[in-house]
Symmetry: C2
Subunit: 429 residues, 2 copies
């Protein structure tokens, strides 16, 4: 089966150029292991990418991406250009032309996933996106194939390396948020504009994809509740450590009897939880199910090399299926399931308050929680002069109840400030 | 595609009955997620298994396993009976009849793998074995598919839950080997005859499969060097902890310029290595490659439920491919590669000696290592009366050099006993 498969590449940035290097440089090793040979036939680049050095592939460059998709010698399209458009329309065009598509585009998939998957099903060709979540960590395939027969209950993920790097620096070096962000930028972990990372938007797109595959129901990025790490302070890092926690930006996808939910927010994680030890830019996904108990996957969540490995695995898989010459059945089907609104999702809260140190304040605060139906698990107070720092950790309660408690706390005269609110992860849901 | 696929089951022990329960009890959930429905049509059982309660499937039982394979209503065969024969011949017969086969049989695959894989290739049907290594942990598919384009350098695995449980108990509770083994048996982690676990034979079969898939070259179970955990003592556990190590039974598959090698033996692992924190019956596989950096997979390595999840994932995958109606290309090809004999494999050694506490002993011991070309990294000595415990940790040296040093140590008059030899894992190879 020494048949050469023509690859059309959309985008030649970090991932795209790493992929070209691998397809060219390791073609013999790949052929030995898989029986397949690949040939890059056309590369759609933007102005910036054109300035890079593509000595080997100079003649294949074009700045019209549709030329890549429509090239008759291109058998398989790899989309690593990013952004929703024109990537979405290019992928649709390729699928409609009966060409398998590999994409690493979390943002696009988390918003137009069902449409793209349906187009692939109609065309009977594979549409694979292992690299869209967790970079080099194989997680999409295990979720959608190996675990297809498992009724997963919960998926937890550290799926953004930039924020995990920043939070790790704050926890282990005592850095401020600003200093840690600066260092992440200097080391290349954070983009010049790090908004998508620190706001949680990048993680939210990945949470949507994880939830959709884990529960077999479509969860779009707009269904994911998101909070970023901008408000995390060194003070809370210190308290977290004192109470046996570490603060991480975490994606939580859950299924209960009332439906499924997905959210991304900073959370206090118990130090003995497997995700607590995921440090620096490393990513990890932790799965819980009734028979599988728990599974942990961890590794490099980003970077050209690891992401190219994931893309290449998909390319090989799609080529193998396509060469078999049959219509390819989709790997996952989505059934409609109730989405639980975030206001109904129950979590434990850590609330740090600055209060006037006067008799009766604690009673008022306790009533604020109690009246909203939130029960308190522990309270810790430390007075400095006539002010006191008061930390309340609650039992699990619905977001709506927690917010109502928060509103009544803010109305108490002696409460100078609600300095921070961080959710606390239950070890097992 | 609401077509029902007929399943023939070989073996109805722990995994087989868990699989039946899932196929029957969760058929709706599986159909919703995959579009596939399954129907158990024939179950080959032995006398012991027949005594179990199979109310739902009573009419499907047979004690002639070939009846399962030859049944015309059986579209797909699942082999979970274990043992090399008749499992091997049954699988060959099924493949030759054009039926996809799913197997969890590490022992068989590690000895007849290439023959079975070739038979599947000739028949153009899938032969999948996700459950053969790591129980419920998805590792076979990531290795053979997602990472097909990566040139992996090293695979480390804790792939036997019984021994990891015993070693964890010894390390954390200070139990003796005998007490820990007794407890493992009482809790059902160890079989009545635990030989295959504690001798390393079970882990060796898994190491052979991991090495074969990781490096794309056939490594049989007989090519794997094996040492069990029988000789590990509480004394060494204590020294390990003092020096910042923990002792684990580990599978090491490596590729270097001279070829590939695979081995299973107890090893001292640095406490900051991700595998050091894998406790109890949990399994884990740690992959290292030039672009993927490192990946960790961990989860339940055995048990009916988790293993059935892995089998079920393969069943769904094979059914999907087969329904597409085409000849299925194999997922992995093996190319011949040099196997490095174990005597050439370099490792670091921890050697604990009991010596007469006399001047000049250390010099003799140091010469013993030096003359064999093994350089010493650190020495630790503790005298009790006129004897001394002497611990030597060496730099990395070929097995043959280490063994030659060991022989000369034994020839020294003042050396009362070489109490133990345990290899030390390098953090990065």
């Amino acid at each position: 089966m020494e048949q050469s498969i023509g690859i059309g590449l959309l985008g030649a940035g970090t991932v795209g150029s790493a992929l070209i290097a691998r397809l060219v440089g390791e073609s013999e090793a790949i052929a030995a292991k898989t029986g397949l040979t690949f040939d890059v036939r056309k590369i759609g680049v933007n102005r910036l990418e054109r300035e890079r050095d593509f000595a080997i592939t100079e003649g294949l460059l074009t700045d019209d991406p549709f030329e890549v998709v429509n090239d008759p010698t291109v058998d398989l399209v790899v989309e690593v250009m990013g952004g929703k458009e024109p990537a979405g329309d290019l992928i649709l065009a390729a699928l409609q032309a009966g060409k398998p598509v590999i994409s690493a585009n979390k943002e696009l998939i988390a918003s137009r996933g069902p449409e793209l998957i349906a187009a692939a099903e109609r065309a009977g060709v594979p549409f694979l996106f292992e690299a869209a979540v967790g970079g080099g960590i194989p997680i999409i395939r295990p979720l959608s194939e190996t675990l297809a027969g498992e009724r997963l209950d919960r998926v937890l993920g550290i799926v953004n390396g930039t924020t995990n790097y920043i939070l790790t620096e704050m926890a282990s070096e005592g850095s401020t948020y600003e200093a840690a962000l600066e260092q992440a930028t200097a080391l290349g972990y954070a983009e010049t504009d790090p908004t998508a990372d620190i706001s949680g938007a990048d993680a939210a797109a990945k949470a949507a994809i994880l939830a959709s595959l884990a529960f077999g129901t479509w969860v779009g990025v707009d269904d994911v509740y998101v909070e970023g790490i901008e408000a995390i302070t060194s003070v809370d890092m210190t308290f977290a450590a004192e109470f046996g926690f570490v603060i991480k930006l975490i994606a939580v996808c859950e299924r209960s009897e009332s439906g499924v939910s997905a959210r991304v927010h900073p959370a206090m994680i118990p130090l003995d939880h497997p995700l607590a030890s995921i440090r620096g830019a490393t990513n990890a996904v932790y799965l819980e199910g009734p028979t599988i108990e728990s599974l942990l996957f961890s590794g490099p969540g980003a970077g050209g090399g690891p992401t190219a490995t994931a893309v290449l695995g998909d390319v090989i898989d799609a080529a193998r299926e396509t060469l078999a010459g049959a219509q390819v059945a989709p790997r996952i089907r989505f059934s409609p399931t109730e989405l639980v609104p975030f206001t109904d999702v129950a979590t434990r809260w850590y609330v740090r308050l600055q209060v006037d140190d006067q008799p009766g304040v604690l009673a008022q605060i306790a009533s604020g929680f109690g009246d909203a139906g939130v029960s308190i698990r522990s309270v810790w107070q430390e007075g400095v002069d006539d002010e006191a720092a008061l930390i309340v950790v609650t039992h699990s309660a619905a977001e709506s109840a927690q917010r109502s408690a928060l509103a009544s706390l803010r109305a108490i005269d002696e409460v100078i400030e609600v300095a921070s609110v961080i959710r606390v992860l239950e070890h097992e849901s």
